[in-house]
Amino acid sequence: MLKIKNVSKSYSKGNIRAVDDISLDIRPGEIFGFLGPNGAGKTTTIKMIVGLLKPDDGTIAIDGVNVWEDPLRAKSMISYVPDNPEVYDRLKGIEYLNFIGDMYGIAKEERQRKLDHYLELFNIKDAVGDLIASYSHGMKQKLVLTSALLNNPKLFILDEPMVGLDPKSSFNLKEVMRNMCNEGKTVFFSTHVLEVAEKLCDRIAIINKGKIIAMGTMDELRSHAIDRKSLENIFLELTE
C-alpha cells in the first residue's frame, strides 16, 4: 500500500541528514506505528509521504502511484492529520469541513452520513457552528480528524494523533483505526505513547537520527532485544 524506497532528506545544504536512506513496505490492512525520540525524523518522513516535503533521493508510492509524479491521484487516496493542526481560524467548523469535502469531491449523502457519524463520535457536533478560533487544541485536533475521515482514505496518515485528545476520543480514534484496518485500509502513524503502539500496531518501526534501527511485529522486536519485557525497554535500549 505504502512503499518507501531509499528515501533521504537533508537540511541546511546537506549538513543535517534528517532522514537517511530509509525503506518501508506497508501492506493493506495494516496498522503501522512509527516510533522515535524527538527530532529523529518522524515528521519529516510523514511530510514526504503526504507531499509537503520533497525527498532528496528515493521514491514514495501509494498503491503503486508515485507521490511526486502523480500527486493528485496519490493525494486523493490519503488523508493526513498533522501534529499541530493549524487550520483556518476565521472559518466555522462546519465551513471548514465542507471545504475539505468539496476538495475531495465527496457526494452529498456520503458527506452527511460521515459527518453525522464522526461529529457524534468525537463529540463536537455542538461546536461546529462556532469559529475555529474559539476551539481548544483538542477540539481542533478532532475537527481535523473528522475532516480527514470524510474521504474514506485508503491510507490514513497521522502525526502524533493522541496528543491533546481526551481519553474517550483517544479510545474512539483507536477504534476507528482498527475498523479501517478490518476494511482493508492502511493506517500509518507516529507516536510517543509506546503503550498505544504496543497494543494497537501490527508492525512497528523505530527511527533514530534519520535511520530505521528496528522494524517488525512486537514479537520480532522482542526477539532482538536483551530486556524483552516491554516496548519501553526495547525503545530505550535501541535509541540510547
Partner: protein, 556 residues
C-alpha cells in the same frame, strides 16, 4: 526599565523579522528576489520624482504670494494626517489583533509597558509613511530658501518626533473605541463597520473644515492687506486644522530667531505630554478592550445546532475555494479593512472629497469628457484595473494561508482550481469596488447603460491579469511565517512589488491606449484592449499553473 527595553527589542525583532531576514539573506535563491524588488522600487520612482517636481512648482507659487511658509505647512499637515490615518489601522492590529498578546498579558508586566513598547515599533513603521512625504518639502524649502544650520538641526528633530502626536491620537481613539465596542459575539463585525463609518466621517469633517477655513480666509475684508503684511497668515489660519503642524512649520520658518525655538519647544512639549497621557490612559483602557479577543472560546457550545442542510452542501472545488477565500477576507478584520475596505473606500473618498469640498474641477473634467464617453470609459476601466492590484488580494493570496498552507498542499486540488478559485474571490471584491465607484460617481455624472456595461466588462477583464500578476509574485515568495495577519498583508513586500510591476503593465497599456486615441475608433481600442487582457490572462494562467505546481512541491 530592563523590562521595557527587552519588550521593545523582542517586538522589534518579531515585527521586522530581523533574525529571520538575516537568516534568509544567506541563501542564494533570495538574490534574484532582491533584483525583482529593486526593479519594483525603481518603477515607482518616476512617479515619485514627478510629484517632487510638482512640489518644486508649488513652492514657487507660494513664494510668489509671499506665503512660502504655507509650503512647509502642507508637508507637515499631509504627512501627519497620513500617519494618523495609517496609525488607526496599525494600532488596531498591533495592540489588539497580534497573537503575541496571548503570551504577553499573563506575564507580570503593566499594560502601559506593553503599549509603550508596541508604540515604539509602530513609530518605526510610521517613518516609512512620513519620511517620503515630509523630506521633499523640507529639502526643497531649505535649499531654495538657502536656510542656515539651525533650520536643518530643527528639521532633524521635527522629523524624528513627527509621528508621535498623530500616533498618540490614533492610539487613544482606538483604545477607547475597542473598550466600548467590546460587546457580544458579533464584535468583529460591529468594530469593522464602525471603523469604516468612523474613517469616512473623519475624512468628511477634515474636508469640511478645510473648506470652511479657506472660505473664512477669503471672506475677510482685509485679506489681501493681511496677506502682504503677515507672511505666515495662511499658516496661522489653515494650521488650525491641526495645530502641531503649525508649530512645526513656524519653528522652521523662524529657525533663525527666538520664536522658532519657542515653537519647536511647544511641539516637543505637546508630544511628550500627549505620550504621557496615552501611557496613563492605557492602564485603564487597554486590557478592557483586549480581553474579549482572547476569551473568544466563551461562546463554545452555545452555538446553534447545525441543520442537516449545512452538513451536506456540495460545491465545485474552485467555488468552494473562492468561498473560503471570501469568508477569510471578510471575517479577518485586517483583511477586511485593507483589501475590501480599500477597494470600496478609495473611489468613494476620491469622488466624495470633490463633492464635499465643492471643488468643481473633477465635475468639470468629467462633464467635458462625457460627450465623448470613450475617454471616460477608458479612464474608469483603467481605474478599476488599478484597483485590481491595489486591493492586494492577488499579491497576498498564498501568504494569507500562512501556517495553514499544508491544507492546500496535502489536498488533491487541481492547479487550475487553485487559480480560478482565487481569481474569483478577487473578482468578487472588485465587484464591490465597482459598485462603490459607479455608485458615488452617479452624484457627479450620468452614464448610459452601454457605457456602464463596457466599464464593468473592461474593468473586470483587466483585473484578471492584474490579480494573476500578483499571485505570480506571491507564489514565488509567499510570506507564510506570521503570527498576525497584519504581516501577511501590510508588511508583505509582495504588495509593493506587485504595485511596481502592475504600474509597469498598466502604464504600458495606458501609454499605448493614449497614443491610439484620436487615431483610431474607440471600439477598435476596446477590442484591442480585450485582446490584450485575454492574451495576458492565458499567458499568466499557464505560467502560474507551472509555478504553483513547482512551488507547492518545494515550499517548506
Amino acid at each position: 526599565m530592563d523590562k521595557i527595553i527587552s519588550l521593545i527589542k523582542t517586538d522589534f525583532n518579531t515585527t521586522y523579522g530581523l533574525s529571520s531576514i538575516a537568516y534568509s539573506f544567506k541563501s542564494k535563491k533570495n538574490r534574484w528576489q532582491i533584483i525583482v524588488f529593486g526593479l519594483a522600487i525603481l518603477s515607482l520612482l518616476p512617479t515619485y520624482f514627478m510629484i517632487v517636481k510638482g512640489l518644486g512648482a508649488m513652492y514657487t507659487v507660494y513664494s510668489q504670494i509671499g506665503q512660502k511658509s504655507m509650503f512647509l505647512l502642507s508637508g507637515f499637515l499631509s504627512s501627519q494626517i497620513l500617519v494618523f490615518v495609517f496609525g488607526l489601522l496599525y494600532v488596531m492590529s498591533k495592540y489588539y489583533f497580534s497573537n503575541d498578546m496571548g503570551h504577553l498579558v499573563p506575564l507580570p508586566i503593566k499594560p502601559s509597558y506593553i503599549i509603550g513598547s508596541k508604540f515604539v515599533t509602530l513609530m518605526i513603521s510610521e517613518y516609512l509613511t512620513s519620511l517620503p512625504i515630509i523630506l521633499p518639502f523640507i529639502i526643497i524649502y531649505g535649499l531654495k530658501g538657502g536656510e542656515g544650520l539651525l533650520y536643518w538641526i530643527y528639521s532633524l528633530i521635527l522629523i524624528g518626533f513627527l509621528p508621535v502626536i498623530p500616533l498618540v491620537l490614533a492610539s487613544i481613539l482606538i483604545m477607547i473605541f475597542m473598550k466600548y465596542t467590546n460587546i457580544g459575539g458579533k464584535k468583529d463585525l460591529i468594530r469593522t463597520i464602525s471603523a469604516v463609518i468612523f474613517v469616512a466621517a473623519m475624512i468628511y469633517f477634515q474636508l469640511k473644515m478645510q473648506t470652511i477655513a479657506q472660505k473664512s480666509l477669503m471672506e475677510g475684508d482685509n485679506f489681501l492687506i493681511n496677506l502682504i503684511t503677515d507672511s505666515n497668515l495662511l499658516v496661522k489660519k489653515l494650521g488650525m486644522v491641526f495645530p502641531p503642524s503649525q508649530w512645526a512649520t513656524l519653528s522652521l520658518v523662524n529657525s533663525s530667531n527666538f520664536s522658532g525655538l519657542v515653537s519647536l519647544l511647544a511641539f516637543l512639549l505637546v508630544a511628550a505630554i500627549s505620550f504621557t497621557i496615552m501611557i496613563i490612559l492605557s492602564e485603564s483602557l487597554f486590557l478592557d478592550g483586549l480581553i474579549g479577543n482572547i476569551e473568544m472560546s466563551a461562546s463554545k457550545g452555545r452555538a446553534r445546532r447545525i441543520n442537516s442542510r449545512d452538513l451536506s452542501r456540495e460545491t465545485r472545488p474552485y467555488l468552494a475555494l473562492a468561498r473560503k477565500e471570501i469568508i477569510m477576507l471578510v471575517k479577518t478584520p485586517v483583511y477586511l479593512l485593507n483589501a475590501v475596505g480599500g477597494v470600496i473606500m478609495i473611489p468613494i473618498i476620491l469622488i466624495m472629497s470633490s463633492v464635499v469640498s465643492e471643488d468643481q474641477s473633477l465635475r468639470t473634467v468629467l462633464e467635458a469628457l462625457s460627450p465623448n464617453s470613450g475617454f471616460l470609459i477608458l479612464g474608469l476601466a483603467g481605474f478599476i484595473v488599478a484597483l485590481g492590484m491595489l486591493n492586494s488580494i492577488g499579491t497576498t493570496t498564498f501568504s494569507r494561508e500562512g501556517k495553514s498552507l499544508w491544507i492546500q498542499r496535502s489536498l488533491p486540488i487541481k492547479v487550475s482550481d487553485q487559480i480560478i478559485g482565487r481569481l474569483l474571490s478577487a473578482l468578487f471584491i472588485q465587484i464591490l469596488g465597482i459598485i462603490a465607484l459607479l455608485g458615488s460617481l452617479a452624484f457627479i455624472v450620468r452614464l448610459g447603460l452601454l457605457d456602464l456595461l463596457l466599464i464593468i466588462f473592461l474593468g473586470l477583464l483587466g483585473s484578471i491579469p492584474m490579480t494573476q500578476l500578483g499571485m505570480l509574485i506571491d507564489i514565488l515568495r509567499p510570506m507564510l511565517d506570521w503570527d498576525n495577519p497584519q504581516k501577511a498583508m501590510k508588511q508583505n513586500l509582495n504588495v509593493l512589488i506587485g504595485m511596481g510591476l502592475g504600474t509597469l503593465y498598466l502604464g504600458g497599456i495606458g501609454f499605448l491606449t493614449v497614443r491610439a486615441v484620436g487615431k483610431v475608433n474607440f471600439y477598435l481600442i476596446y477590442s484591442l484592449l480585450i485582446l490584450v487582457f485575454v492574451l495576458s490572462t492565458i499567458i499568466l494562467f499557464n505560467i502560474l499553473g507551472k509555478l504553483i505546481k513547482k512551488q507547492f512541491e518545494i515550499l517548506e
